[in-house]
Amino acid sequence: MTIDWSHFTPWASLAGGILLGLASALFVLVNGRILGISGILGGLLKPKVGDVAWRAAFIVGLLAAPLLYAALRGPWDVRIEAGWGTVVAAGLLVGIGTRYASGCTSGHGVCGLSRLSPRSLVATLAFMGTGFGTVFVVKHLLG
């Protein structure tokens, strides 16, 4: 292992993380639920009366965030190496996997670990494990 110092951004990442924690904190206090993106989006696919507007409003906020960020801080780095086929396969896996797992990086990784949930610890170890494994296979065995 070597450290990629040229892309290492400890302060921006820490500050961004603090904002994610703050948003999750506000969300649970205002809405009463876990701020989990896969669950909030997934709930829109099987809509229940009175349970749509807040989900849609949250998603619209996420979609609008780039406008706010660009206005305040300008452009940001985006490096996408995956080809179109890989992007489709990855999207399918992320969609079905997060719904079976009842959560993703936000719901399990941030909120679940924050509330010391054993379920979320298992989920986070599992998705980090295959995340590390997949990158190892793609970059070092196949690449």
């Binding site: 292992m1 450290i3 990442s13 820490l14 961004g16 993380g17 924690g21 948003a23 999750s24 904190a25 969300f27 649970v28 206090l29 809405n31 009463g32 876990i34 701020l35 993106i37 896969s38 989006l41 997934g42 696919l45 807040w54 409003a57 906020g61 996420l62 609008a64 965030a65 780039p66 940001w76 780095d77 490096r79 996408i80 995956a82 890989t86 489709v88 396969a89 990855a90 999207g91 399918l92 896996l93 992320v94 969609g95 079905i96 996997g97 079976y100 797992a101 009842s102 990086t105 909120c111 670990l113 924050s114 379920r119 599992a126 998705f127 494990g129 295959t130 995340g131 990158v135 970059k139």
Partner: protein
């Protein structure tokens, strides 16, 4: 009146905006950075550990407060998860999610934010992700029917 507007999604919109802003600032919306973090055996970028650390440092205290509340601040019900089951669905679902995350470097939040920024691969990723979620709903529906028939 203020409370009324908040209850109809204004607060969720603003929190979505804050969360999305945090994702971009943290570097989570750069798939190359995510893959750099997941590339433990290559040229490793540890930044995302700082994202996790910052988020949990705040979240830990918030959820300690939330745990003891019987209502949210708008007077609605608290709906925190109650399941304690560590079952196959949780583990296999998470393993599958991680594989997809490592393949493209997108998890659901950053993918939606990048879709909002108009990135073509994020558009395709989100369409595939929604199809995956619909496949889950379909499989769950079929499972419920089979259970009811059996």
């Amino acid at each position: 009146m203020k409370k009324h507007i908040l209850e109809h999604g204004l607060s969720e919109f603003l929190i979505g905006l804050l969360f999305g802003f945090g994702l971009i600032l943290s570097g989570m919306t750069d798939p190359g950075k995510v893959i750099g973090f997941l590339d433990l055996f290559g040229n490793w970028d540890p930044s995302l550990a700082f994202v996790m650390g910052g988020a949990i440092a705040v979240g830990f205290f918030a959820f300690r407060v939330a745990k003891d509340r019987t209502q949210n601040v708008l007077g609605g019900a608290m709906r925190l998860p109650t399941s304690k089951d560590i079952d196959q669905r949780l583990v296999i679902g998470s393993l599958v999610f991680g594989a997809g995350w490592g393949l493209a470097g997108f998890c659901p939040g950053p993918a939606l934010v990048s879709l909002g920024a108009g990135q073509d691969k994020a558009v395709v990723f989100v369409i595939a992700m929604v199809l995956g979620m619909l496949a889950f709903e379909w499989l769950e529906g079929r499972r419920a029917k089979t259970a009811a028939a059996g």
